[in-house]
C-alpha cells in the first residue's frame, strides 16, 4: 500500500468567495450552519441556569444575573432569531429532500435528475 495516501487526505476547498460568487443559496446554506452550531451557546446557558435552579436559591441568583445581563440578553435575542431561522431552513431541507425522493421514484432515475 506504499503508493496509497491513507492518512493525509485533502479537505474540500471552501467554495464561497474564492471560487463561487456568493448567491442566495450559498448564503442561506452557510447561515443554517452558523445558526445551528451557534445555538450551543444558548443551550449551555439554559442548562447552567437549570442546574443553578436545581441547586440552590443563591446559585440561581448568580445564573439568573448572567441571563438578565447584557451578555444574556444578546445571547437570547440572537438565539431566538437563530432557532427560527434554523427551524425554517430545516423544514425547507426536509421538503426539498422529500420532493427529490418522489421525483426519483417516479422517473426511476437519480434524485438529482
Amino acid at each position: 500500500m506504499a503508493d496509497v495516501n491513507r492518512g493525509n487526505r485533502p479537505l474540500s476547498p471552501f467554495m464561497i468567495g474564492p471560487y463561487y460568487r456568493p448567491q442566495i443559496n450559498s448564503i442561506t446554506s452557510i447561515l443554517t450552519r452558523i445558526t445551528g452550531n451557534g445555538l450551543i451557546v444558548a443551550i449551555l446557558l439554559i442548562v447552567w441556569w437549570l442546574l443553578a435552579a436545581a441547586t440552590s436559591a443563591e446559585y440561581f441568583a448568580v445564573a439568573d444575573a448572567v441571563v438578565r445581563s447584557w451578555f444574556g440578553k444578546i445571547v437570547f435575542a440572537a438565539s431566538i432569531w437563530a432557532v427560527w431561522y434554523h427551524y425554517l431552513a430545516g423544514l425547507r431541507h426536509l421538503c426539498t429532500t422529500a420532493a427529490a425522493a418522489s421525483r426519483s421514484r417516479r422517473s426511476g432515475g437519480s434524485a438529482g435528475a
Binding site: 503508493d3 496509497v4 487526505r9 485533502p10 437549570l50 442546574l51 436545581a54 441571563v67 427551524y87
Partner: protein, 123 residues
C-alpha cells in the same frame, strides 16, 4: 512493481462512509425537533426571568420538564451530528479527530447535566 489493482487503491477513500446513516439521523431528529422546539421555546420563554420559587415550581410540573428533557436530548444529538459535519468540512487529521471527540464529550456532558437538573427540580 505495483501489486494493487486500481479498485483496491480507491477502496475506502470515499468521503461518505457512514454518511447515509448520518443523513437519515439528521432527518429523523429534525422531524422530532420540529415538534419539540416550539413547545420548548414557549414553555421556557414563559418562565425565564422569573424568581427562583416560580422556576422550581414551574419545572416540577411534568409537561415543561418532559419537553425540556426531550428537546435537550434530541437537540444535543442533532447538534453532535451537525457539528461533526462542520468539523469534517474545515479540519483534517488529528485536529478533526480531537474536535469530534470534544463534541461528543460536550454533547453527553450537557445532556447528563440538564437531565440531572430537571430530575432534581422535579423531585
Amino acid at each position: 512493481m505495483r501489486f494493487l489493482t486500481d479498485r483496491k487503491r480507491a477502496e475506502g477513500l470515499g468521503s461518505g462512509k457512514s454518511g447515509t446513516g448520518h443523513h437519515w439521523y439528521m432527518q429523523v431528529s429534525a422531524v422530532g425537533l420540529a415538534v419539540l422546539v416550539p413547545f420548548f421555546v414557549f414553555t421556557f420563554g414563559r418562565v425565564v426571568g422569573a424568581d427562583h420559587a416560580t422556576v422550581v415550581d414551574y419545572y416540577s410540573r411534568p409537561f415543561p420538564a418532559i419537553v425540556a428533557g426531550l428537546t435537550l436530548w434530541v437537540g444535543m444529538l442533532h447538534f453532535r451530528q451537525g457539528a461533526q459535519m462542520m468539523i469534517e468540512d474545515y479540519a483534517g487529521g488529528f485536529t478533526r479527530k480531537a474536535l469530534i471527540v470534544g463534541t461528543i464529550c460536550l454533547t453527553y456532558g450537557t445532556i447528563a447535566t440538564g437531565l440531572y437538573a430537571l430530575i432534581r427540580l422535579a423531585l
